[in-house]
């Protein structure tokens, strides 16, 4: 019985490329990975938003209306609904003048009880150090 920790680090802007969206959907898929593993073995994913990546979790994304696709906001909310650990870099929020009022911080409206954590970059560095593998997107 073992648990492998994967740290997804989202650093790219949404929509022009699929990179950040795929980071979220891959992280979400950690919830069903057991079908490939032995009993008791787990893969645990966390998501950290750094640099430009913090724009993926802005509220009020209207990609559904304009592009006809699901929003990264919606995927971000799903990660919280599924109890994934979510970290957001405070220094990068400060740089862009963003506060938690602007961001997807929970999935309470969908029945989730997890909250995203706004943390200093040092905490994200620690998350990377404790992870078995790092996946930058």
């Amino acid at each position: 019985m073992a648990t492998k920790k994967l740290a997804f680090v989202v650093r790219s802007l949404p929509y022009k490329t699929e990179a950040s969206r795929l980071a979220l959907t891959h992280a979400i898929s950690s919830q069903t990975v057991e079908i490939y593993l032995n009993d008791g073995d787990l893969v645990e994913a966390s998501i950290s938003y750094v640099g430009d990546g913090v724009f993926n979790i802005l509220k009020n994304q209207q990609a559904g209306k304009h592009y006809g696709i699901t929003t990264n906001e919606g995927h971000a909310k799903n990660t919280l609904l599924l109890d994934l650990k979510v970290l957001i870099c405070k220094e990068d929020l400060d740089k862009f003048g963003l506060t938690e009022e602007n961001l997807v911080m929970d999935a309470e409206d969908l029945g989730g009880d997890m909250r995203a954590n706004i943390v200093s970059y040092n905490e994200i560095q620690k998350e990377m150090e404790t992870a078995d593998h790092l996946l930058f997107c």
């Binding site: 680090v9 650093r11 750094v50 640099g51 970059y121 560095q125 990377m128 150090e129 992870a131 078995d132 593998h133 790092l134 996946l135 930058f136």
Partner: protein, 98 residues
């Protein structure tokens, strides 16, 4: 942690590298990342080379872009794909792509 950063771009990624810290850090310049090893702006070498790290550049990407070995910054070691595999498995525990 012992971290290898595969740097594939010239204009982006430096913001991430600046903040990364690791007990052992390797910066492996691949793709357009090799410009860090040879391009000079205002006559100055790329600031990323000041970082406390071991630097490598993938020879085939370096040569494909018109550079010759004499243009490789003295802080950077030329490697091939086989060397890269050995670095990843033997010298570092985690690998990221920027």
């Amino acid at each position: 942690m012992k971290l290898a950063v595969l740097m594939s771009d010239y204009r982006t990624g430096s913001d991430i590298v600046d903040r990364l810290s690791a007990e052992k850090l390797g910066i492996i310049l691949v793709g357009n990342g090799v410009y860090h090893a040879a391009a000079k702006e205002g006559g100055k070498a790329c600031p990323i080379l000041e970082k406390k790290a071991d630097f490598y550049a993938l020879t085939e990407d370096f040569e494909s872009r018109g550079f010759t070995a004499d243009k490789l910054d003295s802080r950077v070691k030329a490697v091939n794909y086989g060397d890269l595999v050995d670095l990843i498995f033997n010298d570092y525990e985690k690998v990221i792509w920027l």
